[in-house]
Symmetry: C2
Amino acid sequence: MLNAPPKESRSKAKSLLMNLQEKICNKLEILDGKELFKEESWIRPEGGGGRSRVLKNGQIFEQAGVNFSEVYGSELPQSIISQRPEAKGHKWFATGTSLVLHPRNPFIPTVHLNYRYFEAGPVWWFGGGADLTPYYPYLSDVRHFHKSHLQACEKINPNLHKVFKPWCDEYFYLKHRKESRGIGGIFYDYQDGSGFLYKGKNQKGLAHKISNEIGELEFSWDNLYSLAENCGNAFLPAYELIVKKRSSHEYSNKERDFQLYRRGRYVEFNLVWDRGTIFGLQTNGRTESILMSLPPMARWEYGYAPEENSREHYLTQIFTKPQDWQNDKNLERFCIENGIFD
Amino acid sequence: MLNAPPKESRSKAKSLLMNLQEKICNKLEILDGKELFKEESWIRPEGGGGRSRVLKNGQIFEQAGVNFSEVYGSELPQSIISQRPEAKGHKWFATGTSLVLHPRNPFIPTVHLNYRYFEAGPVWWFGGGADLTPYYPYLSDVRHFHKSHLQACEKINPNLHKVFKPWCDEYFYLKHRKESRGIGGIFYDYQDGSGFLYKGKNQKGLAHKISNEIGELEFSWDNLYSLAENCGNAFLPAYELIVKKRSSHEYSNKERDFQLYRRGRYVEFNLVWDRGTIFGLQTNGRTESILMSLPPMARWEYGYAPEENSREHYLTQIFTKPQDWQNDKNLERFCIENGIFD
């Protein structure tokens, strides 16, 4: 049974996500220490608009893009109606904040965050998540990123993270490469406080299985608002620590080349598989804002394969596959033995 | 009324396309003058295989990829069945040669070619084409490329080029950028010698309109074989002249940066809009061969816009829109006056 949203639900969600953009940008400028964000506001002819912020050529960030948008209209796209037929015929409203940070140093991971809220008549839901894409990962960093998001979820309910972690692994997957985009994080969608937690389409995946085992759960609108708030606030401490630890790592052309090569995978995921990107591009979204997620530079190389037992090999063999980062003792031992634990 | 293919149609088409790969590679090695192609043969578990050839870090070509493949199976993909329901339930066979050349010098255009043949029971067709993507174009080069393909088509029938030129403009179009990929060339598909020449889905386009005006036409299998042969053979002379004319042009970081930026558009087209690429990636094709079309390096820059009346501005204002390259006298005058005619 779907709970009704509170009065002022739209403006509450909007403020939450707009403030999230604001807070994150302020802290990222301090973290970068050199460049500031430039802002462009834009209006969507069909209704609503947004605020795109980009920081270029910083000390830490080769490019950092943080978008906020609030859009509305009367005709829902078919892709939404097929997923939520109850929404048909209603005016709709959507607001969201998303970011992708492309650091220069290959030892600092690329990272992505997105939180969003949707409403159409009686239908509403929250969605979002954050995921990390390292090139030269350390297990302690990976654990820190996951633990931060686990704790943010557990403040609401201990079951959430059990589903959102594998959901993230399943969503950020490059089928044509048989690789995960990175080490994951959390991802959730269509959270309206009723039914099973997993509301995706992959009936064979772990997220669906675990969600079934947990059973149906009920949450209020405020619970899910707090979830977005907690997770949004968890992001910067989760990432900042990694940046500070790795930003003084020295690197050569070899590491830079590998980073650029792996960024090619980021492009492939976003343009081939990411529903949000493809949907935006095919429905007359603001192209420059949508494609702010793409790296400032990327490389492709036919037939590239990393050397056996190299750092680059570990990335493709271990850190682009779903793992139990916190508890896998073999993985821990391997990382300690090979100097990639801390 | 569909004409029957001749005996040995499959092996004839295969030889044509395999020889095309061979001839083109041999000539490209001479043109490059430094590096040679490396070859990898591969087997498709479901039936057939291919021969991928890549030349890297040449004098002229930063990367040149030329693929041949011959694949077959018993279950047709849904995308083909929806287009050609008569093919359903039959074993199918497809063979093709495709190439993308990424030269290093920004004054030499990127170029793409693809010719293919398909058979399933009583159904068969030829498809293909070639298109040019310059960064710093000259009208004489553009005219030469188009004229070469016009003449190749006219040897078979004077009406073909009238449809295949706008079909190319419509196919290689980035809707999300409102730009053509480049200056076009020719493109055709589903040519089985019966009915209207245009067999695409864009009922509002020029190709459909002109095809309707021309009316239904009949061709034999041999006619369409010869068309692929003529066009395939026209490719190298069409492109070689441009390479030779432009390869000694000096360039600085500015032109190189713009080339890398525009290569980003090439990536966007191939991953977002190109039916062949998306289909291949989503149906377990050989990823490395499919993505040989991507540039060795590409760049994205949020909010980039070329300076008014610069060479870069001409590209986006004139050379990424469909034009009547041969006959537009205003265009000719503009190019002469601005030193970009010859």
